[in-house]
Symmetry: none
Subunit: 221 residues, 4 copies
């Protein structure tokens, strides 16, 4: 509102960054604004201003606002899921540890970072951008759910977990994590206390472990 619209930037680094003003700076600015206000309500002026460039510069890197949206999703998403899959291999024989790592690790590396806004953004815009949503679903959601399901199935097979229906266990597992991220970027940012992530995660992990029949699981550290 009261901030100047990129009027005269500090003369210190006038136009010197150029090539350093990578697309990633633009997508980072776009992500935070899309999460904050939604895709439609975010103006390109704002994105440009937040990235410290002019509006026209956006079009040097992205064909349209929609292309920018796609890039925001694609960029934020690619490395995220791969970490999880790698972790599955490292702790192949310890389902409790895996679930704990996924739960706390997801929060530490995604939910609690800038990327934590992507779930809100995708939920809000999935129906407006089905193509992007499909890409996200294939690339992230589907693989992520499979990851969880695999862990729980192994745990059941190993007798570590009691027998449970595993088909939708991934969705159930993720729901409170997503809830935490969604809350932070909606009510938690505007009109209510943010949830206490530590306690929330602990409550959920405790309930989950008992729900799976594990009585003595311990939270990390």
């Amino acid at each position: 509102m009261t901030q100047a619209p990129a009027a005269v930037p500090n003369d210190a680094a006038p136009r010197r960054r150029r090539k350093e003003a990578r697309p990633q700076e633009l997508t980072a600015a776009a992500l935070s604004l899309f999460v904050e206000k939604g895709f439609a309500a975010t103006r390109l002026d704002e994105i440009a201003a937040r990235a410290g460039v002019s509006k026209g510069t956006l079009y040097l890197y992205f064909d349209s606002k929609e292309a920018l949206f796609k890039a925001v999703i694609a960029e934020g998403v690619v490395p995220a899921i791969e970490e999880g899959e790698a972790m599955l291999e490292r702790h192949a024989d310890d389902p409790v540890t895996l679930l704990r790592e996924f739960l706390y690790g997801w929060w530490a590396r995604i939910g609690n970072t800038e990327l934590g806004g992507i779930p809100k953004l995708m939920i809000s815009e999935a129906r407006n951008f089905p193509e992007v949503a499909a890409y996200y679903h294939e690339t992230v959601i589907h693989r992520g759910l499979k990851l969880i399901r695999t862990v729980v199935q192994r745990g059941v097979e190993q007798g570590v977990f009691r027998p449970v229906s595993t088909e939708l266990i991934g969705n159930v597992f993720m729901a409170p994590l997503l809830h935490l991220a969604l809350w932070r970027h909606s009510f938690g940012s505007c009109c209510a206390r943010d949830l206490d992530a530590e306690r929330f995660l602990a409550t959920w992990f405790d309930l989950l472990m008992h729900g799976l029949g594990v009585r003595d699981a311990e939270p990390p550290q």
Copy 2:
């Protein structure tokens, strides 16, 4: 045009139907479109068209698009929570039944109806309309969470549930339900199979009960 109006005896008749064009028809149309496309991306033309009225008519009932948004939320929300509070009294001494009723009842009466879109809408727009979000938080979320918390606390006190941290149990309880509703109005409507609500609820209820230390709870019917 310029002929005498003899052909139309009394003006009252042809417009009588309009009386039924209650504000609720307008908010209903608005709700479904806001959920589908988001607040900013929904045009008043579309709302008017879906409600079968002209664009100007909207302004007879609502001062602005934002006022319509507020009405959508207020109207969808008022009766919902009151039912829950009434239910708390009816089954004061049976926490398992209460949780089962809340869980399946919320889905039957809210999540699985038009109102099930409100969580998506509020999450998407909370930061753009903090005032509405605050109203929603006070009127619905806060009271709803308290409801759950009360039930669980009683259950713990009665020894029906094992001792658990109850501060955030409401959020954990609601997270999968909201997840189901959010999914239906995002990915489930555009690019992925909708979740199987029955199985999802069963999986969650089963996990929750075991998580609370109840081993023989049965799903409804």
Copy 3:
């Protein structure tokens, strides 16, 4: 430049015309500006201002700037050629009169009116709007050339004209007329004396008649 951008129109007729502000008022304003400045260089603001409406009003009647262009051509063109064809029947047996009527009549009813700008406009934009150009070619040019050719062929058959190659005679006949119209809307409007239409037409008619072997044809009146 110095004229206010449709700021506050005279309060005398504030918004009272509405329905009278027919599309024709808009296409008339558009035609004159397209002719004056070219399609690309004409701004919709200007068209709206000249028509005395706001910019948005244009979109109540035309889907886009290009649609407005098409309408300008279609509207200006439809009645023009039909008059000529009707005339052919009225003077079926008098080729000299027909040519004289076509020549002076075209100038009086087209070249010397607002429609006289259409040739400049179509020549300038044909390659940018091939579809419109094709329509114009079929609807106007083709039929018009055929008209002339028919008259000259009859004249030759009747022995009124000497034998001439008639295939392209229509183009030759029209060229000076179009030249007159093009001149008026280019050099004649900016930096040179407008051509003396009377003398120009007389010179051309005289040369044409002698070229066709008619020695005693007289100009009209």
Copy 4:
């Protein structure tokens, strides 16, 4: 990149080619695009791309897009008219030959070359660039018309032509030639057969000669 420049002995060599990238290459590219799409609808990017240089290079040679336009006209026009004036002297006593040479020569050396687009361009843009139009009018049109008029006047004085009004005879003479060039760059390039130049010129020359009272003039070769 960072290697020693030993491989390239003298810096002059690799950029020598640029020396030939004369302004004429730029104006040639600009001319064809201006003719094709009009001045306003032509982007400097396109011109640069067609000339094989970068957009910024244009500004090494021309101050602005408008300056480029002026150069296009000035360059295309300077030599054209001088040839005609020279020819006038060579055939001072043979008006029929002169007219034939002007007619067919104009087509061969101007109309049928890249320069043939200039009339379309000037007609389209005269009112937007009155200064350029005035220059063109003085430098080309005025002198060209005078040339024709002189020839016809001499022919009349010598009794070769019948007495005709000579004031506007130049315009009449040029009109079909210009028509041919305009057609080629408008309808002929987009949606209609190009005119058969040979037959068109023959038809016109035949009609013109008879119109001037010359019965036995022969087309060239």
